[in-house]
Symmetry: D2
Subunit: 307 residues, 4 copies
């Protein structure tokens, strides 16, 4: 390790008002203010190409496969036979890519509000989607996903929520509320599961993860929090699977490996049976904190992590 | 998350020449140049009180319990009956604290080269040692641990190596070499185990963890890498247990919980059976990388991570 | 010039929300929250020992002599025979030191609201005051200078206002208003002058300097803005002399040098006749901007530079 | 002033290994590695559009007029009738722009080694050159200026050296040596003058300015150091005029204003008679330091400011 810094353009990813993860910028590939957010695609020295939305790291060339495999496969492998998948957000196309690895999937509908993020990702982050947008099973709509779900009667086997965190004043928090999860629950088929990212699991910063966990428990009988290490995020990261009937923790490592082999041609880079099991083992301080969290996120009661 | 920074004094912990973890400093408790290193004790807003050696975060009030429990208990719980423990380094006294939780331990000998770090830690980080230095079973020597081990004929049940990373030109790397591990192996009793921290497990930065792992395998029949999440370190962190006879992965969660209950009065804050098992499950990219690492650290072949 | 940074503790002096001057910290000499402000005394690599109040650089070992000579001597040399000097603020004692260089001065009354700043400065910045606090001509009171001036009937030949900038919500702005300057005018003897620091003269940041200049012109017939280069401040710095009768620009370089020789034993480190004249020559863009500035600071109309 | 930072992409302009000037980046207009240097054009919040070469600020939209007027007019106004002007470097075209303001100028020959900097400047910094490259009096060559001057027999009335600093290992230092200045002297017409930028005049950092000043004195009978305030540079900046016969300090403010009026149609934004005179008045500590500087830069004795 060293204290000699060699960069002079820096991306400062503020984890809190008093803590930052700082990346030397090699070059800026593109930047654009869309109707919804500031989009930047940066080439960094440490994590290669990165997508940054409103100043926050979203995914990096070095470890996006970890994030996206960790987000998609727990639910997909737990469901007995996922055919219809709905993706909320997921602009880079990598969540879609992981979903489409399953030949069993007949349709994958992705609804992202920001068309420009999708187009910039296709152009500048082609390895993220890896052709997924051109798959005949893909349907892509640029709409408010909540409104779309309210207006449809369709149901889905898997719903994956791949959006930014619920914090601050942005409209994204309406995709993290008790009311939204009730709606999602209603649009799931009887064997259905949902999965989502749920903020950091850092020991002194568990409000977000805990509140999402407790909010999910208001609607779903089975909620399984888990975590993955995505170094470009600067802090350890939390996810959750919520389901009506199947508990991912009942799928043991051997069974998970068997299902991967059976269902997914080719090879996963990150996910396997061992990770499937161990990721659900939250450590004592994390478990304790999220179990005792009392805040539930509601439409008229958003989460404020920093004031 | 936010981009509004509120601090104006910052500790910049360089993870590489192009990546830093940055902490707002509330106040500086003490700073001193010892014969061996620059010691600083900082009160940060995010991680409370922190020990910083030569500009690198060593442990923080918020998550030192994770680091020290993860370092000590895997080896202690795997050994059938640890009585004699040797600690290399461990200046803060928290490794000693965790070792002395076991009433079975008859003596704990800690050898740290830097008396001033120990004294500053006793004064300014009292909750780290929590009285451990005053325990009648403790022996404390301010010496070069390698020379001490070379000159003694004693053997130990557990040897815990709690020092900085082997990088750069410092003498610390002589406590990470094949020659040193052969010596440590020789000073272990027949059922003995060693444990140590082994650098980050970040996917793009596995040289250190991989080289330590391969170097250990030169001397020990059983080597088990594992990891823990210590957010104040900025990156995920690796450890290893190496042993003559017992494999910690053979201790299943229930057995680990049983041993904790039987051997450790009071309660551990971080460690339990679930963590014992899951921490050894390294993810595919980490496993792949360390297995194929070919560099072995030798006395005359140090590790250079940045040039 | 270089891009290799060697420090890991940094003092970030925010010049605006988008511009900072950053200093490697060698060590922190002391820090204290007084009733009025956060006081920090830092040893930096570039500017030696520095006084920092509420996160802003106040003066540094390397260039404090420039700031204090530039603040004091223009008024002192313009007055025909300064005997009674009043200092508003001036906690470090260096303004007092420069005033007391003149044997003609019979009394120097310094009124600073924050006793702790004065005491910390005496202890940790002894070369700033250089014995000035012990001079029998010194009187020192820890009071609100405005209230003191309201309640006294005394008059002074020179009044030097050595305080932080008038920005933000702090009470300091009440020492920069039209009402305060009218009071100060009233407490000046007929030949009297005042001097003060007035914020940066950076071309894109002239609101503060211009508003102070225009506010002074509401009360004083003669107002002379001038500037000095104090690198530790990060931006060029403005001052003003305001007076009833004497214009400092009428003192030509030779006359200024003659008066220095006659009035000041020993040698000034920064100030001389050439600087006396040239410092009043503001460049075209600065002149233009402050002449057209329309904002006047009033008790119920503070200056907001950043919102 | 404030400590709330609002940017998350920062350009860190290292003034030394322990001091930086940091700018929030709004967007990156272009970046390119040429054969000679890394070129970046950034839109910053504080200084608008900026040209950055090898990580160092070269000129900004907010204050480039100060730099270029300060570089060009002292020599041009001191010469009795400048007709032939040679510019070493000057890639942005703004030095050329200021030279061509004089209808007396019959030809301006600019020799810059880096064609790409010139082309990027024309494209992205059009207000810098403001049409100067299209002036029929302009000749532009992409060559090593030193070699060009060695091979020509032509002489020039004014030679302006507008290049980066002589520090570090780059070839630029060969345009700052005693040997180069002897060559330049030889290519000047009998009434000729040269001008150049000469590094910071910050009190603790005068090695560069002093060494250039002393090196010029090896070749020229008259050398006049001066300074200007260019806030985007982070530190106060030094220049020099060196000449065979005419001393710019002999042109008093009135005469300078008269010559500006007579010679330059339109209006200068920064330069006038008052600035002409006052800029040559270096303060005592600067004068003292450069007069006693003993280092002379020679072809085989470059200047190392940081090691």
């Amino acid at each position: 390790m060293t204290n000699k810094l060699k960069s002079y353009k820096w991306f400062l990813d503020a984890l809190s008002p008093h803590e930052s993860h700082v990346h030397g910028i090699d070059s800026i590939v593109c930047e654009k203010q869309t109707r919804f957010q500031k989009v930047e695609i940066l080439d960094t020295f440490s994590y290669g190409r990165c997508l940054v939305l409103d100043g926050k790291m979203q995914s990096s060339e070095v470890d996006e496969f970890v994030y996206h495999e960790a987000l998609v496969h727990p639910a997909m492998l737990t469901h007995p036979d996922p055919k219809r998948v709905f993706i909320v957000g997921g602009g880079e196309g990598a969540t879609l890519r992981e979903v489409l690895r399953y030949p069993s999937v007949e349709m994958a509908l992705m609804v992202d509000i920001d068309q420009e993020v999708v187009e910039l990702s296709r152009q500048y982050l082609p390895t993220w989607s890896a052709g997924a947008f051109d798959d005949p099973r893909t349907a892509l709509k640029y709409l408010d996903a909540r409104r779309f779900l309210e207006e449809t009667n369709e149901t889905y086997d898997i719903i994956i929520i791949d959006i930014s965190e619920p914090v601050e004043e942005g409209p994204a928090y309406l995709l993290y509320t008790k009311e939204f999860y009730a709606l999602v629950m209603d649009r799931l088929s009887p064997d259905g599961l949902i999965s989502l990212q749920a903020g950091t699991t850092s020991y002194n910063n568990l409000l977000n993860f805990g509140a999402v966990y407790q909010t999910l428990k208001q609607s779903f009988p089975i909620v399984s929090g888990y975590q993955a290490i995505i170094p470009s995020f600067g802090l350890p990261w939390g996810f959750a699977v919520a389901s009506k009937r199947f508990d991912p923790r009942d799928v043991d490592p051997k069974e998970a490996d068997r299902r991967i082999k059976e269902r997914v041609p080719g090879e996963l880079k990150y996910y396997d049976g061992g990770t499937h099991q161990s990721q659900f083992v939250l450590s004592k301080p994390v478990r304790r904190e999220i179990e005792k969290q009392e805040q539930v996120i509601e439409d008229n009661q958003p989460l404020f992590t920093y004031n």
